[in-house]
């Protein structure tokens, strides 16, 4: 079965530095990988989506990569701020509408 694996340990980053989160998938490459942000007590909020044949996607301070050789997506936040502290979720989508989710990585940006 398809799985999405994210580092369960919290990631602590100093303000102003680049935060990099990892999402690994099993078996065949998904058609798309999606990244979401979730704050405590809130539902996930969609951030970025990257297609299998795209190497990189950017949105303001966010960048996502898709490496089919490593079966991995990296999510970068440049010039990180304390307000970026949250849990970041990765999900794969294939030929249908369903998403398979990772457990998320908690990011803590220290001032």
């Amino acid at each position: 079965s398809q799985k999405i694996e994210q580092n369960s340990e919290a990631l602590n980053i100093q303000e102003g530095k680049t935060a990099t989160l990892t999402c690994n998938y099993t078996n065949y490459s998904p058609a798309y990988l999606q990244w979401y942000r979730q704050d405590p007590g809130r539902g996930p909020v969609f951030l970025l989506l990257i297609r299998e044949n795209e190497k990189e996607k950017r949105k303001e301070r966010l960048k996502v990569t898709f490496d089919t050789t490593l079966k991995q997506s990296l999510f970068h936040i440049t010039a990180s701020q304390p307000a970026d502290s949250a849990t970041y979720l990765c999900a794969r989508s294939d030929s249908n509408y369903q998403l398979i989710w990772g457990a998320g990585t908690k990011l803590i940006i220290k001032p």
């Binding site: 007590g41 539902g43 989710w101």
Partner: protein, 115 residues
């Protein structure tokens, strides 16, 4: 993107009782989904709510335990029936327009505790 309102935001219930969670969207949407999320764990899809027909349930979830209604394109309910402490979780409603290249948009969830 769509605005999703979910009610109640939290509740504490006695075992053996049932609770109905409502999900209201401010625009018509193709797909509505119900998820469960345990603390620190990934989202688990319970079912897809289909307008005008029976919901499609994922493995491990059954209609008798989690009956779902979707009377129109902007509203759905999930009932958690005959609750036990194992049902304590966060229940999330999401919506999407279908297709693997479409994101989902979520309500803020219902935090349910069973005593």
């Amino acid at each position: 993107s769509a605005v999703i309102s979910q009610k109640p935001s939290r509740d504490i219930c006695q075992r053996g009782t049932s609770l109905t969670i409502q999900c209201q969207v401010d625009s018509q949407v193709t797909m509505m989904f119900w998820y469960r999320q345990q603390p620190g764990q990934s989202l688990t899809l319970i079912a897809t709510a289909n307008q005008g027909s029976e919901a499609t349930y994922e493995s491990g979830f059954v209609i008798d335990k989690f009956p779902i209604s979707r009377p129109n394109l902007t509203f759905s309910t999930l009932t958690v029936s005959n609750m036990s402490p194992e049902d304590s979780s966060i229940y999330l409603c999401s919506v999407g327009q279908g297709g693997s290249n479409q994101p989902q948009h979520f309500g803020d969830g219902t935090r349910l505790s069973i005593l």
